[in-house]
């Protein structure tokens, strides 16, 4: 079998599993292959069992899967864990020094024990370079040209940490490559070969979203470290000086969102990035932005809760929470990108929507989307498609022409009041988190309250015009209609591909713009569907519940996952059978 296989590299935290895996994924991408890679790690710095799973092929596929062809095990625990995932003919690679119990190994698994540590030492490397040796072995067994691995090693070590480290790793990779080729490659049936393909990016959701935010002109971002949202703050910070962004690692998430709201009040494009626990702390301030009509963007990268939950794993269980967070009623916009293209797009679009409708915009991602590395065409990061829309922001000329005191919260037909950044003598106003009048002054009058509520909520109706309808994939009529949202995209698309090979037709309604809810589009798409199956990563079927609430359509068949692991295509297929 050629150019269709899955690797897994497993070891302890501290053994460089993720960085090495990501490096190998990049080598495969540079070889022209499609790649989808999923890190699986525990919430610890040392020890435990982490792994990095890479699927590579020369055809288009949509997600990871459960068949492993080559397991590269750095520890005994990794051997025990991954040997069970191997397909017949698949091989497990580990150091001959590891004492392993083979009595429970499945039939057809090949034992590729190698003197890895001896190879590393022989090449002049240190024991931490066992991970590099594993990559060399993987190339040797599959026949992948070693230069792709060498190129990544040179890029990763050469530039940052000095030539000698790069050289040592290159020696280790070459020695391991040669050894595997000489002694085991003949017996390994799964092969890889570079193919001519247009250059692709290898990227995950977090950087795609961060680049989208930069492209959207983000001027301020504050945050507090929390997996898996913090990389967004880190990535923006890395580019802050170059692109004119102030970033702030705040004292807590309450401060982070309040800083962003303060920056928004001061007329800047401002955001914060967090996960569910951090967002829990931000909830009161969400209402502040809603009430004072300050634009702010919140990137919420979900992980399993409640409370600390499973810090390094995935879930889509914050949907209902973000829709309803904070006391009272106010407009908010919720976007849930599923693909890299959508993550980038929503990264910049969120700022436009926040300023146009002067309300908080929540971009809901999750660990699976945020961290899964995948190959995409360079156009997926569509910088050319970025358009900046600051809504009803008053220009200095418009402010010059203003007569009388500025009504920041003027009653308007669509609820959107022209807004002035501070600094112009005629744009002076106060904004109160209390109910207020058109000038922004605290006001408890009942009529004013009713009119202000209606004004604010009219913005939500106006925002419907900018909501993208859910996308439908697959044939217009099909035996199965999947419904999912956000990162559910990947396993559902892949399950559809497998079902098509089995002669089963399916289509897929994928929701990305969640609030205001596209009720009509969803109802139209589901009308006449033969068998609707909703797929989401939570216990209660939150999207299915929302669809029922908003459209009256009750989706009885639901495939749900809440063990913290990403939904795989096989999980969906098993779910269909179990129904």
């Amino acid at each position: 079998m050629k150019n269709d296989m899955t690797f897994v590299l497993g070891g302890e935290a501290g053994q460089g599993v993720e960085s090495t895996g990501a490096g190998f994924a990049l080598a495969l991408a540079r070889a022209g292959l499609h790649v989808f890679a999923v890190p699986d790690y525990r919430s610890r710095i040392r020890g435990g069992h982490n792994f990095f799973q890479i699927r590579a092929g020369d055809y288009e596929f949509f997600s990871h899967n459960e068949q492993v062809h080559l397991a590269l095990a750095l520890t005994r625990e990794a051997v025990d864990f991954h040997v069970r995932q191997l397909v017949p003919g698949g091989a497990i690679v580990y150091d001959t020094g590891l004492k392993v119990d083979k009595s429970t190994w499945p039939d057809g698994v090949q034992d590729f024990a190698m003197p890895i540590m001896d190879l590393v030492q022989g090449a002049g490397g240190n024991k931490l370079m066992a991970n590099t040796a594993m990559v060399g072995i993987a190339a040797g067994l599959t026949g992948l040209d070693l230069r792709f691995v060498e190129g990544v090693i040179e890029d990763n070590f050469g530039r940052k940490r000095g030539e000698s480290l790069a050289e040592a790793n290159l020696k280790v990779a070459r020695a391991a490559y040669e050894y595997a080729r000489a002694h085991f490659a003949e017996r390994f049936p799964f092969k890889l070969e570079a193919v001519d393909a247009p250059k692709r990016l290898l990227i995950s959701g977090n950087p795609a979203m961060s680049l989208g935010a930069l492209a959207g002109g983000c001027q301020f971002m504050a945050g507090y470290p929390m997996t898996p949202g913090s990389p967004i703050l880190e990535m923006i910070t890395a580019k802050a000086a170059e692109f004119g962004v102030v970033t702030k690692h705040a004292e807590d998430e309450i401060a982070a969102i309040c800083m962003a709201i303060g920056a928004g009040r001061a007329g800047a494009r401002a955001a914060t990035a967090t996960s569910g626990g951090g967002f829990s702390l931000m909830v009161e301030a969400l209402g502040l932005a809603g009430m004072t009509e300050v634009p702010v963007v919140i990137f919420e990268v979900q992980r399993p809760g409640p409370s600390t939950g499973l810090p390094t794993r995935t879930e889509q269980s914050d949907l209902m929470f973000v829709l309803h967070a904070s006391q009272g009623e106010f407009p908010r916009i919720v976007l849930a990108p599923g693909t890299i293209e959508e993550a980038f797009r929503d990264g910049w679009r969120a700022f436009n929507l926040a300023e146009k409708y002067q309300c908080p915009v929540i971009v809901l991602s999750d660990h699976f989307l945020a961290t899964s590395l995948q190959t995409v065409p360079p156009e997926a990061l569509d910088f050319d498609g970025v358009a900046i829309d600051r809504g009803a922001m008053l220009t200095p000329e418009q402010l010059d022409a203003l007569e009388g005191e500025y009504k920041r919260f003027a009653f308007t037909e669509d609820g959107i009041s022209p807004w002035a950044p501070p600094g112009h003598p005629k744009g002076v106003y106060r904004a109160a988190s209390d109910e207020h009048d058109e000038y922004g002054s605290i006001e408890e009058d009942a009529t004013n309250r009713r009119r202000m509520m209606e004004k604010r909520m009219r913005k939500l109706e106006a925002a419907r015009a900018d909501m993208l309808p859910p996308k439908v994939y697959g044939p217009g009529r099909a035996g199965i209609t999947f419904v999912s949202w956000g990162s559910g995209y990947y396993p559902v698309r892949e399950a559809m591909r497998i079902l098509a090979q089995q002669g089963v037709s399916s289509n897929f309604l994928h929701l990305t713009d969640i609030w205001p809810f596209p009720a009509q589009a969803v109802a139209d798409a589901l009308r006449g569907a033969k068998r609707i199956v909703s797929v989401e990563s939570n216990y209660t079927g939150q999207m299915a519940g929302l669809i029922r609430r908003e459209t009256g359509i009750h989706i009885e068949e639901q495939i749900l996952r809440y063990d913290g692991r990403p939904i795989s295509p096989e999980y969906i297929l098993r779910g269909l059978e179990g129904a």
Partner: protein, 290 residues
């Protein structure tokens, strides 16, 4: 020429007659006018409480936020618009209970905001519960037998946190307070002004008379030396029969946070026009993933 009238808002204050907030309000307007600052160059940020209504009664950029959260909101303003003079108004409940954590961090990062704490040692808006600065034994609706908590010393906390400007004032003496506010607005970095303020409705102990008998200008101390942190920490602990008011500590040796932010070297980012990223830069960003 800027005058106090330029800061006049059409909104009539709802504070109780005789409230200490009036004196603070007057002093703020005097200070800003005397500094020649115009209302659009100033942003008043408050939390929630009686003191926090001050921006509503003032013609200037204003942002009345959440209980305890005025400082981070103001920090956000300052970080994108360092050209604005940012002044926080909070109370002792707002600023020293829910907001105390933020105050410590604002002090240590020396962010350029003036923090005026209206300290009346009681909760006014929620009608008379004891506050973090209430004397031990204060009887109130949440401490009917007398409060057990010992009061915080906000000046000492600010100094310990690295504040570079720490002052105390008495709300009745608007002239002196205005001068302190002027010094604070011109100060490089975070400035705390703890303003002792009678609550004529709920605090029957710390009255105008009570304060009038006790406050004295700290500059009268024979060894007055506000550049000496140890001296300031000592004088900050003087409380009781005599209460020093004035600037207790000030140093200009510490750069303000916003002076050190790389992205602000080119000017306030909030004034940067927002344009799409040019193609060559976009290509460079993508190249990191190839």
């Amino acid at each position: 020429m800027v005058t106090v009238k330029d800061y006049q808002s059409p909104v009539t204050p709802t504070w109780c007659p005789g409230c200490g907030n009036f004196g603070i309000h007057q002093a703020v307007k005097m200070a800003l006018a005397e500094l020649g600052l115009e209302p659009h160059q100033v942003m008043l940020v408050s939390g929630i409480g009686q003191s926090s209504k001050l921006p509503d009664y003032t013609h200037a950029n204003g942002f009345m936020t959440l209980h305890g959260r005025a400082i981070p909101c103001a920090t956000g303003v300052k970080l994108v618009r360092p050209d604005l003079k940012v002044i926080v108004h909070s109370g002792d409940g707002d600023g020293y209970a829910e907001g105390m954590g933020h105050m410590v961090h604002a002090a240590r990062r020396n962010i350029g905001i003036v923090h005026i704490a209206h300290n009346n040692q009681i909760y006014g808006l929620t009608k008379g519960q004891y506050s973090p600065t209430s004397a031990q034994g204060t009887r109130s609706s949440t401490s009917p037998e007398g409060s057990i908590d010992r009061p915080v010393n906000p000046l000492l906390i600010a100094l310990a946190a690295g504040a570079t400007f720490v002052a105390r004032a008495f709300s009745k003496n608007s002239r002196e307070l205005a001068d302190i506010i002027k010094a604070a607005v011109q100060h490089r970095g975070y400035a705390l002004i703890d303003v002792l303020q009678p609550c004529v409705t709920f605090n029957r102990v710390n009255t105008y008379e009570w304060y009038g008998e006790r406050v004295y200008p700290v500059s009268q101390e024979p060894d007055y030396n506000p550049s000496d942190l140890n001296w300031a920490m000592r004088i900050a602990q003087v409380w009781g029969d005599r209460i020093p008011v004035g600037i207790l500590y000030q140093t200009e040796d510490v750069p303000a946070y916003e002076e050190q932010v790389p992205a602000l070297k080119a000017g306030p980012v909030g004034l940067r026009p927002i344009r799409p990223i040019p193609a060559d830069k976009a290509q460079a960003l993508k190249a990191a993933y190839m």
